[in-house]
Symmetry: C2
DNA sequence: TTGTAGGCGTTATCAT
DNA sequence: ATGATAACGCCTACAA
C-alpha cells in the first residue's frame, strides 16, 4: 500500500494500453463507455490520484499560484484569504510563502517558487526590499505576476492597492476639521511606498489647510507597536508638542495610545489620534481609535481576479492598476466636535 | 528569453553530455574541474534553475511540507511562522493551505497536496471535521504526518499540542481561588477536542473544589466574538447568574467582556473573566483580561521539529506526543484579591 | 573523467 | 476506439 497507483498499473491490470487509461480518466470523447467504466472502477479501488509533478512537467503548468507576503498579520492574512477564495474557485492552488520582511527570504522564496514552476505570482513586497532583480527575473520569463498592497514604482506590474495617498489625506483632513492644528505623523520605513503615499496624503491635507509642515512632527519608525510607543513619547516631550497624531498603521496607533495615556493626556480633548487598517482591536480599546479602513479581504480577491485576467490575456497588462478607495471610521480618539443633530 | 534553460541546453552548447552537466551541477567528486567551471559559468549566464518537478518526479520527494490549517488567525499564523522557520532551516519549503474551518476544503487541500507529492504533512484539523478518512489516506501511503494544536484521538499520529486540560484547570482554579463560586464556561463546538479538553480541566477544577457542575453554566458556541456576546447575555439573564466566566478563546472573552460591560457589571468585582491564548489584544482592553498563554510560535517550531524527526526515523512514531505547558497570565478581569505584599 | 540509456508518470501525436 | 512511442527535465546505473 505504499506507493501511489499510476495509470500504468491500471492499464496493466485491465490489459489495455496506458493511453486508453489516460483518455478514460479525462473522459475524452472517443473512448468506449465500458472501458471507461472499468477504468473508473479500478482507479477508485486503487485509490488512484494523478501525479501533479508529472502533469506539470509535461504541460509546463502547475495550476499553482505562488503568493509571497512579508508576514501574516491581520491585514495580510485577510488578503491571503481573499486570494485563496478566488484562486480556488478558478481551479488554482495557492502556495503561500512568508518573507518575514526579509529581503533574503524573499529572494529564496521567489527562487523556490520559480523552480516549482508555479504558473504565476501574487506578491506583496517586504519592507526591507530595495532591489527588485529577483522579481524582474519572473517577468523576464514572461510569468504572470501581480503585486498587491505594497506596491512600488520600481516594479512595473499589474497591481491592486489601496489609494494610500487618499487614505492619508482623509485621516489628516478629518483631524484638521476637528480643529487640531499641530498634527504629527508616525510613518513607516522611508523606502516603503505605502508609507510615503500615506505621508503624501498627510502633506497634501496640510497644504490644503495652509498649514506649514514641521519636520519635527514627521517620524519614521518601524511598523511596530513598541517603536511607535517610544516615538510618541519623544513627540510628546518636545516643547511645542503635537495636538494630534496620525499613524499609518493600527499597531502603531496602539503604541501611540499607550504613550499618550501614560503621559496622562486625554483623547480626543488633549490630543487626537487616527490609525490605519481598521483592525478589530481599534474598537475594543479605550478610547476607541478612529482608523482608515481598507477592506483587506476584498483587496485580496481583487488581486487574485486581476491575476487570473493577466493569465488569460495575451496582451501586456503591466500597467493595469486597480486602486481601491479607503474609508475613514471616526471614533472617540479623534472626535472632538460631536456631530450636530439636525431635525 | 522565455522558457527556462535546462541542463540539456547547457550540454549542447558545451558539447558535452547531459550527465556530465548534471554531475557538475551537484559538484560530484569525479568531474574535471575545468568542465565544472565551464558548466557553472554557462549556467550562470543562462540563469539556469533546476526544475523541481522533474527532480521530484525522479526522486519521489519534493522537499516540500504541506501545512493545513483551519484559518490564519493570530494563534495559527504564529504557529505557521514557527513551522516555516524550522522547515526552511532544514531545507524544506512549506505549502500552507487554509481549510477555512470547512471539512470539504480540508479534503480538497489534502488531495491537492497529496497529488503534489509533498514529502509530508503538518496539520491542524478544522472544527467542522468529524471524519478522518482523508487524513488516513495519507497514513496508508506511509507519508509522514504530524498533527498540532487541534489534536484528536480519532487521528493517531505524532502530535504537538498544548496541555489544554491543564489550561482549563489553571484558569478555573484561579477563579475559584479568587472566591468566585458560580463559574460558567463558554466552550467551543462539541466535537472539537481542544474545546473538550479545556472543559475537562474546568470540570476537574470544580471537582477539586467540591463544586457541583451546573449545566446551565456550560455553553457551547462557535469560536467567535459575536456568538460569545449573545451567549454571555443569556448567561447573565438567568436567575442565578454566574459570577465568573471562563472562555476557551480570547475572541470569545472579548465578546463576553462586551456583554458584561453592556449589562453594567464590573470586572472583577461583580464578575470575573478569564480567556485563552493570551493574544496581545487582551492587555489592551479595559479591564485587561486574564488569559491562558500558549506560546504559539514555539508550538509551531516544535511541530516542525517533530515532523523532521518523523521523516528521519524509520520506526513508527505515531504515538510520539509532545505536550506543552500553558501558563496563566493574571490581569484585572479576574484579580479580585490583590496579592499581599510580604516583607 | 565522461557518455549512453532507461525511467519517473503523464500527455500528445500518429498509427492501427 | 485503442495502442505504440516520444517527450517533458532530471538522475543514475552501467559502460567506455
Amino acid at each position: 500500500m505504499d506507493k501511489p497507483a499510476t495509470i500504468k498499473d491500471i492499464a496493466r491490470k485491465l490489459n489495455i494500453s496506458i493511453s486508453t487509461v489516460s483518455r478514460a480518466m479525462r473522459n475524452a470523447a472517443d473512448v468506449n463507455s465500458d472501458t471507461k467504466k472499468a477504468v473508473m472502477a479500478l482507479s477508485e479501488e486503487l485509490n488512484y490520484q494523478p501525479n501533479r509533478l508529472a502533469l506539470g512537467l509535461k504541460q509546463k503548468q502547475t495550476h499553482t499560484i505562488g503568493v509571497i507576503v512579508p508576514n501574516l498579520d491581520y491585514v495580510l492574512s485577510m488578503m491571503v484569504r481573499g486570494i485563496d477564495e478566488v484562486a480556488l474557485e478558478a481551479g488554482y492552488t495557492v502556495m503561500v510563502c512568508q518573507s518575514n520582511e526579509s529581503f533574503g527570504r524573499e529572494i529564496v522564496n521567489t527562487r523556490r517558487l520559480l523552480e516549482s514552476l508555479v504558473d504565476g505570482f501574487i506578491i506583496s513586497v517586504s519592507s526591507e526590499t530595495k532591489s527588485f532583480e529577483h522579481f524582474k527575473k519572473i517577468q523576464e520569463r514572461n510569468i504572470p505576476m501581480v503585486v498587491f498592497d505594497r506596491v512600488t514604482p520600481d516594479l512595473v506590474a499589474p497591481s491592486v492597492r489601496l489609494d494610500n495617498e487618499n487614505g492619508g489625506f482623509i485621516a489628516t483632513e478629518h483631524l484638521l476639521e476637528q480643529g487640531y492644528k499641530r498634527i504629527a505623523i508616525l510613518a513607516g520605513p522611508k523606502n516603503l511606498g505605502i508609507s510615503n503615499s500615506r505621508m503624501d496624503g498627510y502633506l497634501n491635507a496640510l497644504k490644503k489647510y495652509k498649514i506649514k509642515k514641521d519636520d519635527d512632527l514627521i517620524i519614521h519608525c518601524d511598523f511596530n507597536q513598541d517603536y511607535a510607543f517610544f516615538a510618541t513619547q519623544e513627540l510628546l516631550a518636545i516643547k511645542k508638542r503635537p495636538d494630534a497624531i496620525f499613524t499609518i498603521s493600527d499597531r502603531m496607533a496602539i503604541g501611540a495610545m499607550l504613550a499618550i495615556k501614560k503621559k496622562g493626556l486625554k483623547m480626543p480633548e488633549d490630543i487626537g489620534l487616527v490609525g490605519f487598517n481598521n483592525e478589530p482591536v481599534v474598537s475594543l480599546v479605550t478610547p476607541q481609535i478612529s482608523s482608515v479602513d481598507m477592506s483587506s479581504f476584498e483587496l485580496g480577491k481583487a488581486a487574485a481576479k486581476l491575476f487570473i485576467e493577466t493569465m488569460h490575456h495575451q496582451e501586456d497588462m503591466s500597467n493595469a492598476e486597480q486602486i481601491l478607495k479607503p474609508k475613514l471610521f471616526i471614533r472617540e480618539s479623534s472626535q472632538k466636535i460631536l456631530p450636530k443633530i439636525t431635525r
